[in-house]
């Protein structure tokens, strides 16, 4: 006992050791909760099957489309449009990464083991980001190639080297990752699964639909800066329009939402009890 105590430095554990321990425990939690792999698998299914169904629908319906519909047709968005559904799942995963721990009470054990709460949150977010980005980027590329192989002539299709295409396909993975991060921080703010999910889905899905129902110019300009509309620019081919954000500008707007939510999460997680 006393010999053991002598080997541990009195001043505490070095930062490097502590970070490694936190990273290891966060990774164990992330991969061992069954919902994480199941959710990513379901997201994969939506993205890949969505690419097949949407591309098939357009290829078969191409003859009935009007000239203006054909001009505005975006083959990249079509093959990636499973992302619209997958963002629900990645968002739910982000929320549950945090709220699951609050629901089971594990968060108390976590913060007793590592009282540096900001460090726990930072490592948690980092592990989530890496895992989500790797999976979602792979899915985005997979969906693109599947979609383009289905969209044969006369339907419009593109190659990965065409202008803007690589950005859009790469952006699909980035978009889903940021949506997941936003959800994770909303989970920290609200701490309860149901409340956090409703807040997230209202922000991502209901507000754009609601804004589209308001006919005024003001609301349509505002709608462009909603997180999903702005962030969605990066995984579509650039559209012309008076107020259209460019892909990276839109992505920046979404990143700003994530940054503000993250700031609030880091402040609150240190102040509130668990």
């Amino acid at each position: 006992m006393s010999t053991h105590a002598a080997r541990v430095p009195r001043a505490g554990i070095s930062l490097q050791v502590r970070l490694r321990a936190t990273a290891r425990s966060e990774w164990v939690k992330f991969r061992s909760v069954r919902s994480a792999p199941a959710t990513l698998l379901a997201a994969a299914l939506f993205v890949l099957v969505g690419a097949i169904l949407m591309a098939t629908g357009y290829r078969n319906g191409w003859a009935t489309m009007s000239q203006s519909e054909r001009t505005s047709f975006d083959p990249v968005y079509t093959s990636l449009s499973g992302i619209e559904l997958a963002q629900l799942l990645v968002g739910a995963l982000g929320v549950m990464t945090v709220t699951g721990e609050y629901a089971s009470g594990l968060i108390r054990g976590t913060f007793i083991a590592t009282p540096q709460r900001a460090q726990v949150l930072a490592i948690k977010a980092l592990i989530f980001t890496v895992a989500a980005w790797v999976v979602c980027t792979a899915l985005s590329f997979g969906a693109f190639f599947i979609g383009q192989s289905v969209l044969t002539s006369p339907a419009k299709h593109v190659a990965i080297g065409d202008p803007g295409v690589l950005t859009a396909v790469f952006g699909g993975g980035l978009y889903l990752t940021l949506v997941g991060l936003l959800s994770l921080f909303i989970g920290v703010l609200l701490r309860r699964t149901a409340a956090a999910l409703i807040a997230l889905f209202v922000l991502l899905l209901i507000l754009p639909v609601a804004a589209a129902m308001l006919p005024s110019k003001f609301s349509s300009n505002l709608a462009e800066f909603l997180p999903s509309n702005a962030g969605g620019q990066i995984w579509k081919l650039p559209q012309s329009g008076a107020y259209a954000l460019s892909p990276w500008q839109g992505f920046g707007v979404l990143a700003a939402y994530v940054a503000v939510t993250a700031l609030a999460a880091f402040v609150l997680i240190r102040r509130r009890d668990v």
Binding site: S35, G50, M54, G57, Y58, N60, G61, W62, A63, T64, M65, E69, S81, E84, L85, L88, L89, A92, V95, M96, A103, T193, A194, L197, I198, F201, L205, I206, V209, A210, M213, L214, P215, S216, S219
Partner: protein, 274 residues
Amino acid sequence: MTQATDAGLPRTPTPVLRARAAMGAEWIKLRSLRSIPVTLAVTVVLCIAFADNVCSNNVANYPTLGAAGKAAFDPLFVNLNFVQVGVIFFGVLGALMVTNEYGNGLIRATFTATPQRVLVLAAKTGLLGLVAFLASSVTILVAFLTGQAVLSSGHLPSVSLGAPGVAGHLFGAICYLTAAGLIGVFIGVLARSTAIAFTSVFGLFLVLPILVDKLPHNAAWKHAGPYLPSNAGDSLWGMRVQDFLGTTGAALTLAAYLVVLGAAAVVSLRSRDV
């Protein structure tokens, strides 16, 4: 003790007594779990406020419409458009009624007290159907009366309750919202977790129709697209989209979803553990 039990109470409760007890228990849970009355109140208030907001936004925008836009202006459509979004909240409400119990473990006590699981589901469905019907009636009627008042005070075309087709469409909207609540209950039973249930409700009622409606409306689409629960429900309140089902077809489609999902919920409830 033994004597009193033998003399005073029947050995096996009659089905009527059992059903009454199950209804009583569900009613206590419904009104005392904070999240359900809160969701209900927020749903009604938000829906009415949003409907009025859409109407006043249309009043502001009306002078900018061209002659064709003015001729096509449909005061009932503008007023009831919020149903597309409001339906989500009814679905969420129904899901919460079930997943709340799985989340906090109360479901074990419920099934210990009433091992007739189908009876519990029937009581939940009946009660939620009643509450959703009352809430949606209040929502639709108040939204209609205030929305038309906003339109007529802005000197826009408006309709009265007695105008042909209006009462039927209002009733259709009420039925759609109630059906969404019931579908939410069944999804809750199938999913058992709040996160999966909410994700399914948002995916089914909000994201899927947006994706499917984008596809070219060729012959294949006409055999599938109109039968989505949201598209069938939207035809009930008179959203005039080309290729949508007529009132009878839409009502039968929604009823079929209720029967199929209800049957799936019964099977899953009886065969899985809690």
